[in-house]
C-alpha cells in the first residue's frame, strides 16, 4: 500500500526514492491523537529507508529519524520549503529517545542503513544530522570509522531544525536542552491514563468486593450502599496519581515522585473529607486516606518513566524507600477497611 505522505518519486542512479510531503493532513493529526491515547500504536510505523523532501541534489543534507511515525512526521513538517534527505532507521516503531535508550536507534542500525541505501552514492558529502537525543544510542566516532560519515547532533526538538540550519548547523544551549514543560507533561497524560487501566480495574474490583463485607458475610445491601462510592474513590485516587501529579509536578513539595503522588492523593482525600464523603467513622476515613494515597503514590512513581530528568540510580533509591511504605499503607488501609466492616 502506498502511504499518503508519499507524493511521488525521484530517481537517483536509476533507483526510485520516494518523495514525502511536508504538510501534515487531517489523517496525520487524527493518527497522532490516537497514538497519544494508546490506540494503534504498534502500527504507527514508516518503512525504514531513504526519503526525499523537496527536490534534493547530491549536496542536500541528510536527516536521520526513527520509523515511529510521530518522529518522522514532526521532522518532515519542519523541513517545509527545504530540500533534503531523510534516512529512516528501523527502530521497531519506537520514538528516537526510547529507541536510543534501547539501542535500536543505534550505531549498528545507522551503519547498516547507510550501507543498505548506499548513501554514499546518493549524496556527495559526508554529513549526517541526527536528533540530539539519538546520542544515547549512537557513538558518532564509530559511525565515522565504519562509514566515513560525520554525525552532527542537531536540536532536541524538530521545531528548532530551521533555526539550526539558519545558524550554520549549530545547536545552541537552549536547543540542546531537554525541558519538561507543562505542555510536555500534559501530552503524556492520555497515554498513562490508558496504560494504567489494569491497575485501575484491579483496584476498583478489590475495593468493590471489600465494600460488600459485613459481620454476616457479604451483603447485597452493602454493595448497593458502598460499592459505587468505593469505585469512585479509587477512580479519584487514580486521577490524583495520573493527572494531578504530572500537572502540578514542579509544585508538589517533594523530590520523590512517590511522595509527590502521596500529596496529590492527600488533596483528593481532603476534598472527600470536606464534602463528608470520606467515610462514616474514623476507621473508615483513615482506611480511605491510606488507600487513596497509596494508589496515587504508586502511579506517580511510575511517572518517573515518562519524565525527562530522573536517573536510574535515583529511581532505584526512591523505590527502595517508597515501596515498603506503600505496601505498609496498603495493608493497613485494607485491614482497617475490613475491620471497620466487621465491627460496625
Amino acid at each position: 500500500m502506498k502511504s499518503e505522505y508519499i507524493t511521488g518519486n525521484t530517481s537517483v542512479n536509476g533507483e526510485a526514492i520516494p518523495v514525502v510531503s511536508t504538510e501534515l493532513n487531517t489523517k496525520d493529526f487524527l493518527g497522532a491523537v490516537m497514538v497519544r491515547w494508546g490506540i494503534n500504536r504498534d502500527r504507527y510505523r514508516v518503512n525504514p529507508g531513504i526519503y526525499a523532501v523537496g527536490s534534493p541534489g547530491p549536496g542536500a543534507e541528510v536527516f536521520v529519524s526513527a520509523n515511529y511515525k510521530l518522529s518522522f512526521d514532526s521532522l518532515r513538517k519542519n523541513l517545509q520549503g527545504k530540500n533534503g534527505w531523510i534516512l529512516v532507521l528501523d527502530t521497531k516503531g519506537v520514538n528516537v529517545w526510547c529507541a536510543a535508550g534501547k539501542g535500536t536507534f543505534g550505531t549498528k542500525e545507522l551503519i547498516n542503513r547507510i550501507n543498505i541505501v548506499n548513501l554514499d552514492k546518493i549524496v556527495s558529502h559526508k554529513r549526517l544530522i541526527l536528533p540530539q537525543l539519538g546520542a544515547t544510542g549512537v557513538a558518532a566516532f564509530k559511525v565515522k570509522e565504519e562509514t566515513g560519515f560525520n554525525v552532527h547532533y542537531g536540536p532536541v526538538r524538530a521545531a528548532d531544525i530551521k533555526k539550526f540550519i539558519a545558524d550554520g548547523y549549530r545547536a545552541d544551549k537552549e536547543m540542546r536542552k531537554v525541558n519538561f514543560s507543562f505542555i510536555d507533561r500534559v501530552k503524556l497524560i492520555p497515554n498513562d491514563f490508558v496504560y494504567g487501566k489494569f491497575y485501575l480495574l484491579a483496584a476498583m474490583a478489590v475495593l468493590f468486593l471489600l465494600s460488600g463485607i459485613s459481620a454476616h458475610g457479604f451483603s447485597y445491601r452493602n454493595f448497593q450502599d458502598e460499592g459505587g462510592s468505593a469505585i469512585l474513590k479509587v477512580f479519584l485516587a487514580y486521577f490524583a496519581g495520573i493527572v494531578i501529579t504530572p500537572i502540578f509536578l514542579p509544585y508538589l513539595p517533594a523530590r520523590f515522585f512517590s511522595f509527590k503522588g502521596f500529596y496529590s492523593g492527600t488533596i483528593v482525600f481532603l476534598i472527600l473529607l470536606l464534602t463528608r464523603s470520606a467515610g462514616h467513622n474514623l476507621f473508615e476515613i483513615l482506611s480511605w486516606f491510606l488507600i487513596i494515597t497509596t494508589i496515587s503514590s504508586f502511579l506517580a512513581m511510575n511517572f518517573t518513566g515518562s519524565s525527562t530528568y530522573t536517573s536510574l540510580s535515583g529511581v532505584k533509591k526512591e523505590m527502595k524507600i517508597s515501596i515498603p511504605l506503600q505496601i505498609g499503607f496498603a495493608f493497613t488501609g485494607i485491614g482497617l477497611q475490613i475491620a471497620e466492616k466487621l465491627i460496625y
Binding site: G101, K102, A135, S181, M301, G305, M319
Partner: protein
C-alpha cells in the same frame, strides 16, 4: 520556569579529566548541560541534573566518562526485577507508556 532536578548525590557519573582531550562532544550530546569546557578539559558542573542517559560516555572517544546508564523508570525497574533482566521500559509494546 525553574528547572527540575531529581535527587541530590545519587548519580553515578564520573569523568577522568586526565584522560579527556577536550573534544567537547560530551557537551554537545548532554540534554541537561552537565558539562562545561574550560582549560581544554571537560568538567562536571551540574552533576545532580544528570539523568544517566549514557550519551556522553558512549560518544567519548577516549572513554574518559563512565556512568551506570539506564532508564530512570520505576515500571521498567519492576519489570526488570520480575523478568530478571536489566530495567527496560516497555516502549515497543502497544500498551506501554514511554520512558
Amino acid at each position: 520556569m525553574k528547572e527540575l532536578v531529581y535527587l541530590p548525590d545519587v548519580v553515578t557519573l564520573n569523568l577522568c579529566e586526565a584522560t579527556c582531550n577536550g573534544c567537547g562532544m560530551c557537551i554537545k550530546v548532554c540534554p541537561h548541560e552537565v558539562f562545561e569546557l574550560s582549560g581544554k578539559k571537560a568538567h562536571i558542573v551540574r552533576k545532580d541534573f544528570c539523568m544517566e542517559c549514557g550519551a556522553c560516555a558512549l560518544n567519548c572517544q577516549v572513554k574518559a566518562i563512565t556512568v551506570n546508564s539506564g532508564v530512570g523508570c520505576a515500571a521498567g525497574i519492576i519489570g526488570g526485577i520480575l523478568n530478571n533482566t536489566e530495567p527496560t521500559c516497555g516502549c515497543s509494546d502497544s500498551k506501554a507508556a514511554c520512558c
